[in-house]
Symmetry: C2
Subunit: 351 residues, 2 copies
DNA sequence: TAAATATACGCAATCGATTCCGTTAATTAT
DNA sequence: ATAATTAACGGAATCGATTGCGTATATTTA
């Protein structure tokens, strides 16, 4: 199989008797090239099958019109939607998207970070791995004026753009909802506390209890490593075997919440009557499973779009590391069957 | 914020009194450079914060160590797992991954195709959009010797690497399973028939019926456009209102199967006793919902890994368009509650 | 009509890494 | 001890697009 020679602006220049400069300017709609010439050149480019070489342009301009994405895992509903939002926004602006996943390991995050840097990305969108504490691997981007947008799992000791949800309020509202449903012994499935989103959710949980005059019982607060299905299963089993088991669970994610419900069912514990459950994320599962899972919905795709826009808007202006714009998005408590104990009661009240 | 100057091999050359050629060779472990010099140069590079510029290297070599991915949508469980498999394999080999989604529109597929080409990707992994018929936009990759791997939704009129599952057998087995469970009026939710995966699944369905001597009833074969939840809902409602409703459904994806089950429940139709359902894909929902959904499992992540490996292996050798290696992976029928009518009967038979 | 300005384009350097040819010095073979 | 290798490195062109500066022609202004 012979490889065809690629058409470059030099080929176009020779063919049309123009200089490469003129070809380049014409293809970029430069104002000093006449409309007629631009049309002529563009048509010839199309006809000869010319395709720009991003590598060459990128080298010259020292950037690649590419947004780098650094997340923990792609195949999580939230992350997939986030990426989808990023890709859609970037694509519309003519940007490409490079992805990489850390699998929640610090070491991978660092090496992926370097790989993305080596590709001279225009900006970086990051959701931190579970392990990450040290932030030094991001410094080189700042030094080069490459914008970083932290999404969802953000650092609190690093100045940069951030796009987050109000985890505190969400945690507070979710817990308050359970209290409103008559729960008095509410357990919490907490995530790794050095990741601020989990810390905030827990704070919200604690404050909701305090405000309602409910005691805080340490034995009802379970600290998870990864909030996995297995972990959730184990934790639920343990909780339900306690002499005074909880009558409600606020889980920091849906996966663990689902496992709690399934475990409860297996153990013959009625949901929501004996155990009300609310999760976090509004994964697709939540609305399908039975009983359907109450949860906190996350505008994942929108967060992706906003993050991408941050980077797109950034280009042109000089990067000011002191200017840290933080976007905080609202969440929504989605009440479904897994926590709805007082449906009729509430309805009769309002009517 | 001042931008630090980047360190290049020229800076290293000046600092260490070597030529740029030597620096480059040392960093690439070229055999004509002494071990001692390599160590010296690498340490200095590390110390001075040198980072290679992929754009420059890519321009010179006319490739970017990047794999391009062109799929319909990222936030589908199957696709997210596919990408995850691709990314993991590519990353290990030092390759980056560029992603783009067509949202199942031909026009987007073409423009994304061009965008990826412009970035001089090393290889392309594609799952076709629902709309795609014309394949001309892929020709330029072939002309340049850039390998293309089609995954899952593959063309049948284009020579290239392909990674697929045996959709015919899967469709046959799924239908056979329903027949074994005593179903005699089995409906099929079919996908767009110009996408071969759906065509094959339907063929398997038809042959299973024929082989068992069951009649093929056109009114029980519903042709979907996108196999969405809404479409599934509508179709199920219609089917169940028929004078002689089906007693089984084989859906070409899980989403529509889930909608069928939920619709049946709403209409008071018992699953699986009155209506047995089997889906396709083994989405996370399948095992969680109630009744749990029988389905065909798809080795998504593995398909991604294999696709990436195809491209990695390809480099070096000359591309031979006549050599079209097709990888066919097996599937597994996952029997869960939604189709299990004869559980006890079967068990007593085997024991 | 001469001067001033605008229009439309060309020249050549540049981005950073790679690699084909050398060249020099060190080692081995005879 | 001299020729023949080998090892270790340098020079300079190259990849393709961009852009500051320069120039010739056309157009406008006074």
């Amino acid at each position: 199989m012979k490889i065809k020679k690629e058409v470059t602006i030099y080929d176009l220049a020779k063919e049309l008797n123009y200089s490469p400069s003129t070809i380049s300017r014409a293809l970029n709609n430069h104002k000093s090239i006449s409309k007629k010439t631009i049309k002529l050149i563009k048509e010839a480019a199309e006809g000869m099958g010319y395709r720009p070489n991003n590598l060459a342009a990128g080298l010259r301009n020292n950037k690649s019109n590419t947004i780098g994405v650094l997340i923990s895992r792609i195949n999580r509903p939230f992350m997939a939607s986030l990426i989808s939002g990023i890709e859609e926004t970037a694509r519309k602006a003519g940007y490409n998207v490079l992805i990489s996943q850390s699998n929640d390991m610090y070491e991978n995050e660092v090496s992926n970070c370097n790989a993305l840097y080596d590709s001279r990305i225009t900006g970086l969108i990051v959701s931190l791995s579970m392990e990450t504490v040290d932030m030094a691997h991001f410094q080189k981007f700042i030094d080069q004026g490459i914008p970083i947008v932290f999404v969802d799992r953000v650092p609190d000791n690093f100045n940069s753009y951030k796009v987050v949800i109000d985890n505190y309020t969400a945690g507070y509202s979710a817990t308050k909802h359970l209290i409103d449903q008559g729960c008095t012994r509410i357990a919490h499935f907490a995530g790794a506390q050095h990741r601020n989103i989990y810390e905030e959710r827990k704070k919200g949980y604690l404050d909701a209890l305090r405000e309602s005059g409910l005691p805080i019982r340490d034995e009802l607060i379970i600290h998870f490593k990864t909030l996995s299905f297995e972990e959730g299963n184990k934790a639920t089993k343990k909780l339900l075997k306690m002499p005074e088991p909880p009558d409600g669970i606020f889980s920091a994610n849906d996966t663990a919440a689902v496992s709690a419900i399934m475990c409860a069912k297996k153990m013959g514990v009625e949901v929501p009557q004996e155990l009300a459950v609310i999760g976090f994320n509004d994964d697709p599962i939540a609305s399908i499973m039975q009983p359907s899972l109450s949860t906190v919905s996350h505008p994942a795709s929108k967060m992706g779009a906003i993050s991408a826009k941050r980077i797109l808007n950034h280009s042109g202006q000089n990067y000011d590391a002191d200017l840290t714009e933080i976007t905080v998005l609202g969440t929504e408590i989605i009440v479904r069957d897994s926590s709805l104990r007082r449906a009729r009661l509430l309805r009769s009240k309002t009517s």
